[in-house]
């Protein structure tokens, strides 16, 4: 658009055939310069895409068809690794654990982030201080956070059980009971909702006041305004967070590595943790690549389902004005 606009104004005064030839030539020179510059500007990214994304993805397919333990030479096994996946009990366990973490963790996480954003979306003195307070825990490095929550979840001396005993409840074996270990890691993840809250807060800020004014004139109650104005207008931001949270939650690893070592009884052996063991403790690169592809396809399907479902609940203003 830019090149046409410029040559257009430059030649608007003279309409002789000669200058139109000149302008065509100049326009094509400009177009060529733009193409060259455009590719030069994106070159680092393009090279990076080939070197660290596209290339490795193709390599990963090839590796998944081999038996390769890094020090040995790879040898072709066809779909052998994928067949082996089906007979590996640990795969089922790991898939279940990760799916549980996603299906229970992501919606609760988003609900709490939305609630927090609504709480601090007010015009009150000192609200900036509260926003910072809510956001701070999400900045805690995951290793430090995992170590901290190990003390919180300690059965005999931890803060969590001390809080339970305050209200007269019996202690819970947060991390050492296979029934609760995943839930405990989900509870811990709620404290890191600050980043999502900030994005939702920006979304709330972007809702124009006139919509609320119009609703009030129509006599809408607080709840009706929330349900028919706030929520639809916020839905794109919620959807954005949902996708990011989904992909993040599928890749949960560090907490389990530091806090539970995948235990107790494989209760927190998440898929990425199992892949880590296969790839970097057993150095079984072929099998690990097959695992990665299976997992990628599962995440892809999950994400696409969300995109489809989004048509029914995500509201885009542009669709209406168009």
């Amino acid at each position: 658009m830019s090149s046409e606009a410029r040559t257009g104004t430059a030649n608007s005064s003279s309409l002789s055939p000669r200058s139109s030839v000149l302008s065509t030539r100049r326009r094509s020179a400009q177009r060529w310069r733009d193409a060259r510059d455009g590719y030069l500007f994106i070159l680092p990214w393009l090279l990076g895409f080939i070197l660290w994304t596209g290339g490795p993805m193709i390599a990963s397919v090839a590796i998944s068809l081999t038996e390769w333990r890094i020090i040995t030479t790879p040898h072709f096994v066809g779909l052998g690794n994928f067949v082996a996946l089906l007979h590996d009990n640990q795969i089922g366990v790991a898939l279940y654990n990760s799916a549980f973490y996603v299906v229970v963790g992501v919606p609760t996480h988003l609900f709490i982030a939305t609630l927090a954003a609504l709480i601090v979306n007010v015009k009150l003195r000192g609200v900036a201080f509260y926003r910072t307070l809510y956001f701070l825990p999400s900045l805690t490095p995951i290793v430090a956070n995992s170590l901290l929550w190990l003390t919180v979840f300690s059965t005999d001396f931890g803060l969590a059980n001390a809080a339970l005993s305050l209200v007269g409840l019996p202690p819970v074996q947060w991390l050492s009971d296979p029934r609760f270990a995943k839930d405990s890691l989900i509870v811990m993840s709620w404290w890191g909702m600050g980043a999502q809250m900030v994005i939702l807060l920006a979304g709330l800020n972007g809702i124009p006041d006139h919509l609320y004014d119009a609703a009030s004139i129509d006599g809408a109650s607080w709840w009706e305004r929330f349900w028919h104005v706030t929520l639809p207008m916020l839905s794109p931001a919620i959807f954005f967070n949902l996708i990011i949270a989904l992909i993040g939650a599928f890749q949960v690893f560090t907490q389990a590595y530091i806090m539970t070592n995948g235990g107790p009884d494989n209760a927190t052996l998440f898929y990425v943790y199992y892949l880590y063991q296969v790839a970097f403790q057993n150095f079984d690169m072929g099998y690990a690549s097959a695992m990665a592809w299976l997992f990628f396809l599962i995440i892809l399907v999950f994400t696409l389902v969300q995109f489809r479902a989004a048509r029914r609940w995500v509201f885009y203003e542009a669709d209406v004005t168009r």
Partner: protein, 270 residues
């Protein structure tokens, strides 16, 4: 409206409590961390724990390693992501839109898919136990998310700026460096914060690529505190606090831009 402070404060206390607990534990006399009932305000407050924590491990070395990696990765990200963003936002060229869709689709790609081949590549290059696997990739586009974020911000700046500069004979590089970059501080600050914090906190990549203790980052070193001095929770929490503080300092110094950046780049979905 005054009553709103009640739930707002209650939630605030609940959210900040674990961090307060970390501060409190870091100041307890080693051996009394788990006294029952739990003590929020330690008496006496053992500030010396911080000195001891620093002395126990080559903390200074880990700090230097982490700073080096974080600085190199962040600098590369801001520079190359903004270059690509300029190409995608301000220059028309054949194939641009297709490549941009490709970029968006890599945002959805879980890192796990490329983990194994990248490890093999880096080990064939003899990059294991060096900082190169943790820094060099960031000089190649700085991550799709960062390109997207800066591109969205560039899109909000009026095209008349470029046009006027082009009339005066400015090249694309000049328009990028002298016109758009200075106007994009909020977006760039957001990228700096997100990239720096991610690299500072990263655990999986250093775990895979760094095996010799002399190359350890803080995240790996912290894990060592536990295996070597398993019972010294006060020191461990003191060391954890020391890892958190730089992140907090970074956040507070860029906070103003950060919020603005998120609002203006349309991250909120509009």
């Amino acid at each position: 409206m005054k009553t709103w402070y009640l739930p707002m404060t209650a939630a605030g206390i609940l959210l900040i409590f674990p961090l307060l607990w970390m501060v409190s534990t870091s100041l307890k006399l080693p051996g009394t961390e788990f006294a029952y009932p739990p003590q929020l305000i330690p008496s006496p407050a053992v500030w010396h724990n911080y000195v001891d924590a620093l002395a126990q491990e080559p903390f200074g070395l880990y700090l230097r390693n982490t700073l080096t990696i974080t600085a190199a990765a962040t600098l590369g990200s801001v520079l190359t992501a903004s270059l690509a963003a300029f190409g995608f936002a301000r220059i028309r060229f054949l194939g641009r839109d297709v490549l941009f869709i490709l970029l968006l689709s890599t945002m959805m790609l879980p890192d796990i898919v490329t983990l194994v081949p990248k490890y093999i590549l880096f080990s064939k290059l003899h990059w294991i136990n060096t900082f190169l696997p943790l820094t060099v990739p960031f000089w190649f586009g700085g991550g799709a998310f960062n390109v997207f974020l800066i591109r969205q911000f560039f899109m909000t700046l009026p095209y008349d700026l470029d046009e006027a500069a082009r009339m005066d004979g400015a090249s694309n590089l000049r328009i990028y460096a002298q016109l758009l970059m200075p106007l994009s501080v909020p977006a760039l600050a957001t990228v700096v914060i997100l990239t720096a914090v991610n690299n500072w906190n990263d655990f999986l990549s250093p775990l895979i690529y760094l095996n010799s203790p002399s190359t350890f980052t803080l995240a790996l070193g912290l894990q060592n505190y536990r295996t070597l001095y398993g019972t010294q929770w006060a020191w461990l929490m003191a060391a954890s606090m020391l890892m958190i503080v730089p992140v907090l300092v970074l956040f507070f110094s860029f906070q103003r831009f950060f919020i603005e950046g998120i609002q203006l780049t349309g991250l909120a979905g509009r």
